[in-house]
């Protein structure tokens, strides 16, 4: 018998009440119930980072978070942060540096980069690479992604 679990949480600033299955991941909940599709399903086991969202302000891999465990929490995806200057700056920088090819990894990449830059001033290229190490890109070879992030870091500091 499948029992539903009632959860109440904030998603992109909006209060949401929903019923989820025990085995429903936060990613599945966001994509299928709320139709928030900027967080993406890549590997499904916490390796690739395309499903990255902020849970109580910190990046997590939503494909291995149970939706039920997000009860009472604050969830943000990239689409809920469009107005933030740092996000805008990263988006523009990714475009000007050609850091987007197929674009599948981009939301997770920008969200992870923003979280890192918010807490770290003047990072080295190596710091940036390390910060983004949990986000895989199969197109760019990473150089342009690091370039784009570094450019924003330099402007910020």
């Amino acid at each position: 018998m499948m029992e539903g679990y009632a959860i109440e949480l904030t998603v992109n600033g909006r209060r949401v009440c929903a019923e989820v299955r025990a085995d429903e991941t936060l990613l599945e909940f966001l994509r299928t119930q709320l139709r928030i599709i900027d967080a993406k399903l890549g590997c499904g086991k916490g390796d690739c980072g395309t499903c990255t969202v902020l849970l109580d302000g910190r990046p997590v891999k939503s494909c291995i978070v149970l939706a039920a465990s997000a009860d009472g929490k604050d969830v943000k995806t990239l689409s809920g942060m469009q107005e933030e200057p740092l996000i805008k700056a990263l988006q523009e920088s990714f475009v000007t540096h050609g850091a987007v090819q197929c674009g599948f990894c981009t939301p997770g990449m920008i969200l992870t980069a923003a979280s890192y830059l918010r807490e770290h001033e003047n990072p080295s290229r190596d710091d940036i690479r390390r910060a983004l190490s949990g986000n895989l890109c199969r197109c760019t070879g990473y150089k342009k992604i690091v370039d784009a992030t570094e450019a924003v870091a330099k402007r910020n500091t």
Partner: protein, 303 residues
Amino acid sequence: MNTQNQSNTRLLLPEFEYVKPKTKTEALQLLDQYRDKDTRILAGGTDLITKMKTGALSASRLIHVRDIKELSGARQIDSALHIGAVTTLADLERLPEVKSVYSALYEALRSMAAPAVRNMATIGGNLCNGSPAADTAPALMVLGTVCTLSSLTGERRMKLSEFFVAPGRTALLPGEMLTELAVEGVRPGSGSCFLKIGRVSADIAKVNIAVYLERDGDRITDCRLAAGSVGPTPLLLDSVASLLKGSRISQQMLSEAGRMVEDAISPITDARSTQEYRKAISCILAEEAIKAAWVRSGGEVPR
């Protein structure tokens, strides 16, 4: 295992029941109530959920303890740092005293996984998996860590080195839960270091080694070494430590300690590395880690 899991295109979790106790006592009651069933404790989930998705592990019930406040956070009691079992790796890494006092633990935390995973994963989860490769294990072992195992009937404490029983197995009995880790304070004139070899950075260790030592002049007065991924459990290398204890540091002594490590470990060949490589690199890592801990204790670079 279903075919979807095998094809790795869409990993799905099997059905299970989810319970979320609000307090430690409530969690222990549930654990006691369900002790005969296929019940698992869910903390950060970075190992458990992944294993359940890939079919490596199954459970019919998960008790989610990650949000129980009394099991989270760290506080200083006398000279020891008491760490709640569900404290995340990221929170520990951010503690000023971890960075400034417990170098080996800080380095172990920094070497683990991606930042987003460290935001989820807990210190207790890392240990309770019972993985021989758990990076926090050797670091905490050399720093002198006592763990608290709680059940409805009470608590028992043991050295972390006694907590690991076999690959994937710990000293936890049915109905018991790891609730706290108490890390000893370090002495003045001491130093510690954690080193690890993985395939890429933030990978699971092929070998990891931790060293803690106390120095008086040019002598090592006390010392502990531990290594992971080189035996069925994380291993305390007592024979190497007793060689170093009381001895004058020198390059010759370091080389001898390195050679002794080879006899103290029993690595296997698996997907990550070979027995030969693990033996060879362990000796070098041990030498380097002892040297780094020595320099951090205020000693001069040995010649």
